[in-house]
């Protein structure tokens, strides 16, 4: 055989060995499986919440909670702590907004009803109730119609039903004969046992 043919054959063999080595590595170390992306359990085709409420665009926009995919080199505990901190930040923002009475604050609260994180969505429902505007009722009902999770659907419907109730101020207006004397406050309950 000619030396050129021998060299070509040797190179081909070497390439084969290298190929087998790489394939072996690939099988030996499978790629890390990314966790499922947190998504609100809403049926496809659900209309965006923001579009269903009249009023100006919210000035107080909340940043979406970031979902981070862990890799082999990332500390998963640190990521979980970071994610928790981000959720807490959103919840605190909602608590901050619910004491206001302006349309922008309501819009910002309603935008969190479709947050990818369940804890934030729950806090948004509570903030909507505490905000106390009937403008939120169609949004809550609309969202409930597209929500798959039964518990979340019930929470949305309950919130809408609560906001539909007349307020104490409205009831007072309908009762001009309202009594002005003090109602007897409840007696002091017994002292509770010491807490742990």
């Amino acid at each position: 055989m000619r030396p050129r043919i021998v060299i070509i054959m040797l190179l081909a063999g070497l390439a084969g060995i290298v190929g087998i080595f790489f394939l072996n590595n690939l099988v030996g170390h499978p790629q890390p499986v990314a966790p499922p992306i947190l998504r609100p359990e809403i049926r496809p085709g659900a209309p965006p919440v923001i579009q269903t409420v009249s009023g100006p665009k919210p000035a107080v926009a909340l940043n979406p909670v970031k979902t981070v995919f862990p890799s082999e080199t990332v500390d998963t505990n640190a990521l979980a702590e970071k994610h928790e901190a981000e959720i807490q930040e959103h919840i605190e923002k909602l608590q901050e907004l619910q004491v206001n009475d302006d349309a922008q604050s309501l819009q910002a609260i309603l935008s969190e009803l479709t947050s990818p994180d369940k804890e934030v969505r729950e806090a948004a429902v509570e903030a909507t109730i505490q905000f106390g505007s009937r403008d939120a009722i169609p949004v809550l009902k609309n969202l409930a119609a597209y929500t798959v999770d039964v518990d979340e659907q019930k929470a949305l419907m309950d919130a809408a039903a609560f906001l539909e109730l007349p307020t104490i101020t409205e009831a007072r207006a309908q009762n001009p004969d309202a009594k002005t004397q003090d109602a007897a406050p409840p007696q002091d309950p017994p002292s509770p046992p010491p807490q742990p």
Partner: protein, 218 residues
Amino acid sequence: MKLTKLSLGCALVTGLMAFAPVQSQAVVIANNLYSPLNVKFAVSYVSGSNKTAVIKTVAFTGKDVLKDAGFTSHVSMAVAANNDVVVLYQNGKTTTVAADLSTGTTTASAKIILTPLISITKTNNGATLVSQAGIIEFVAYKTATLTTNSAAWVDLKGTYSKTVNTSKTVNGKYTSSVSLKAAGLSGVGADTSLISTTPLPTTGSGSATGSGKLTPPI
């Protein structure tokens, strides 16, 4: 062009700061963590009389309670680590305890009484998680004020769950996170404006969550 954009940006930031909303998130005052307290109630009553009588239900929240009790704006209800209910007042970036409803004011009072029935404590590398569940009682009343000429009270009971997460102390500080939830409260209430000083069927719920950095006791 860049200078114009910068000026506009600064003006916008200044404007947003001027109209910054009331802060209601958890706050630490004198090394005490106060978590915002969300409560809501529904009271049923008889409206009208004889043939026109119907049972109606009215709803109110903690926000309504504070307005009713004569507290002005920039206030929010919160619960301390020892379960005391307070009214927080925010003036700019400074938050203070405006009233301790657990001891009561001239116009309002509110108490949370927890009776834990089960409890677990887990520790891990300096961090502690306490989870408990039991019976909660929420008692509140308000007298007639200049804002409203009616008096009202509620006394509700139910079950609750509470978690207190305490982190490891780092650089002389630790983080405390509290979560208190009581979903299905029921009991009695009354409001003189509903032409009733007798107990009325009342339902409600309450929750308080918050976290903040505290200094460990010496």
